[in-house]
């Protein structure tokens, strides 16, 4: 287990300066995700046109892992269809829970160190669960529990 593998430069960079951060006006989908164990909370907004995500932003507070995951997720899913997002979610989940790295993950592979830190899996997946719930128009807030 290596802390450096977990806290790679890209994760620290996105954790400190998350991309696509802030409120998105007139979002077609939005959702709040919450991890009651640690208090991490974030809100994902997106705009969908012709079944494609044309804009996505998030806001919230959390640890470096959860912020970086949300930031890199927004970069990864922009322009993708909901089906493609679903597939990517599954690949990402496989990466952080089983260590299976898929080529399609691209930059998201930077989270490969998470599998060695089971306690932090929820930090890495909070944004993804929230995005999934936003897409599915789940009216209540999503929780990692």
């Amino acid at each position: 287990m290596s802390l450096r593998e977990l806290y790679q430069d890209m994760i620290l960079d996105h954790g400190k300066q998350p991309r696509n951060f802030g409120l998105l006006d007139n979002a077609s989908h939005q959702h709040v995700g919450y991890n009651p164990v640690c208090g991490d909370k974030l809100k994902v907004y997106l705009n969908e046109q012709n079944n494609k995500i044309i804009a996505i932003q998030f806001e919230g507070v959390g640890c470096a892992i959860s912020m970086a995951s949300a930031s890199l997720m927004t970069e990864a899913v922009k322009g993708k269809s909901f089906e493609e997002v679903h597939t990517l979610f599954n690949s990402f989940h496989e990466l952080v829970t089983k260590g299976n790295d898929a080529e399609t993950l691209g930059k998201l592979s930077v989270f490969s160190g998470v599998v060695e830190f089971p306690i932090r899996v929820k930090c890495a997946t909070l944004a993804w669960h929230t995005l999934k719930a936003a897409i599915e128009h789940n009216p209540t807030s999503v929780s990692t529990e």
Partner: protein
């Protein structure tokens, strides 16, 4: 060497000797406690208050004697009775339901503080939902002390109870509860004290405090989980309705008429956590040998050793800066989240708490999502703090 009594301190975490700095969540157990429970199950176990055979009579005797050991430990005089509960949380729920739900009306008020653990907020919030009571909240100042001027102003003719913590599980603040109890009594309002976080760290004298209810859990006091104490004034307890129904809490039962057992058994339905009580007794006897004054002194020395070292780390902000503190320190480090720090400490073999500590209103008060909390037990020593400080420097190198 007292550390030798705690076998877990010889284990490792991630290959490094364990430094346990999370005793405020739950303390480690000395082998005297583990052995007492093991011996009881091995050679003396039987249900209590049941059999006419010797084994049950002996178990009953040890179980009942523990009430006296507890009363001596917290200096509760003949005005008080000891009720076994499964922990502080259950004790507060018991008072909320047996006293509050039965006796209070919509519009009646309970005074809490902003630094309460969720376990001293939610039971009262449930009453608000169930019968429409109102919650009044004593604010916390920037140093983490209760604002006593505001406290006085919260009393009204509808105030039914003050329910406050003796010491904050986040800030470490020791509240001036003796003074606060006297103020409440001038308004003829009883006071419940959540002692979960005070009892492991400092001597407590119930008769001197003159509180009406005092609660604590054994597991934070080097005893087993699942057992705790509600110490209450008999005068109040005797008029309270039963909490749960079942065996052991009744005198006679028919389908037409049930009469309840006397105190304290009226509040102890069903087969109790007998081994838990035995373990708690062993824990109290163990602590008595060390002496609570010495425990307090030891933790104050560790605080004095730790605080300057923490403050010397650039970017560290302490949450809770009162002079009267138990061995509990919360802090944040600029631009670093508590969980990331916690992960680095974990990898260095150091156990601390990182999170909201079941005190979300307090986190909001200090505008932090989470803090790192370091808390002491009797087994901590200066080397633990040196390891902590070194690991915090490592966290800064890794995370920035």
């Amino acid at each position: 060497m007292m550390r030798d009594d705690f076998p877990i301190l010889k284990t490792t975490m991630h290959g490094k000797p364990l430094v346990f700095l999370d005793s405020a969540a739950s303390a480690q157990k000395p082998k005297q406690v583990v052995d007492a429970i093991s011996n009881f199950y091995t050679t003396r176990y039987a249900n209590v208050h049941r059999g006419i055979y010797e084994l049950s009579a002996t178990a009953t005797k040890i179980y009942e004697e523990t009430r006296d050991v507890i009363k001596q430990f917290i200096k509760a005089d003949h005005h008080y009775d000891i009720v076994f509960v499964n922990g502080t949380t259950e004790g507060i729920n018991l008072v909320a339901q047996s006293l509050g739900r039965m006796e209070w009306l919509a519009g009646d008020e309970v005074i809490l503080s902003e630094m309460e653990h969720h376990s001293n907020i939610v039971p009262w919030y449930l009453l608000k939902e169930q019968i429409g009571i109102k919650l009044k909240v004593i604010p916390v100042d920037d140093d983490g002390a209760l604002q006593l001027n505001d406290y006085e102003k919260l009393f009204s003719s509808r105030t039914k109870l003050v329910a406050i913590t003796h010491a904050s599980n986040v800030l470490g603040t020791i509240n001036p509860i003796k003074e606060m109890i006297a103020i409440a009594h001038r308004h003829h309002v009883p006071v419940l004290i959540d002692g979960a976080q005070a009892i492991p760290h400092m001597p407590v004298n119930i008769a001197d405090l003159n509180c009406d209810f005092y609660l604590f859990s054994a597991h934070k006091l080097y005893g087993p989980t699942g057992i705790g104490v509600l110490c209450g004034k008999k005068e109040l307890l005797k008029n309270m309705s039963p909490y749960q129904g079942g065996g052991d809490m009744i005198e006679t039962v028919s389908f037409e008429k049930i009469t309840y057992a006397h105190l304290p058994h009226r509040f102890e339905a069903g087969t109790p956590h007998i081994a838990g009580v035995i373990g708690m007794k062993a824990a109290l006897q163990y602590i008595n040998q060390i002496g609570m004054d010495n425990v307090f002194q030891h933790e104050q020395e560790l605080l004095a050793y730790t605080l300057p070292k923490l403050k010397a780390i650039p970017g560290v902000r302490l949450i809770g800066n009162t002079s009267q503190k138990v061995g509990v320190i919360s802090f944040v480090i600029e631009n670093m989240h508590a969980h990331d720090i916690g992960t680095v400490l974990d990898s260095e073999g150091i156990a601390v708490r990182a999170g909201h500590h079941c005190a979300m209103p307090l986190m909001q008060r200090f505008n932090v999502p989470a803090t790192i909390r370091v808390s002491f037990g009797i087994y901590n020593h200066e080397q633990d703090i040196d390891r902590l400080i070194a690991a915090l420097h490592l966290a800064k190198r890794i995370l920035s």
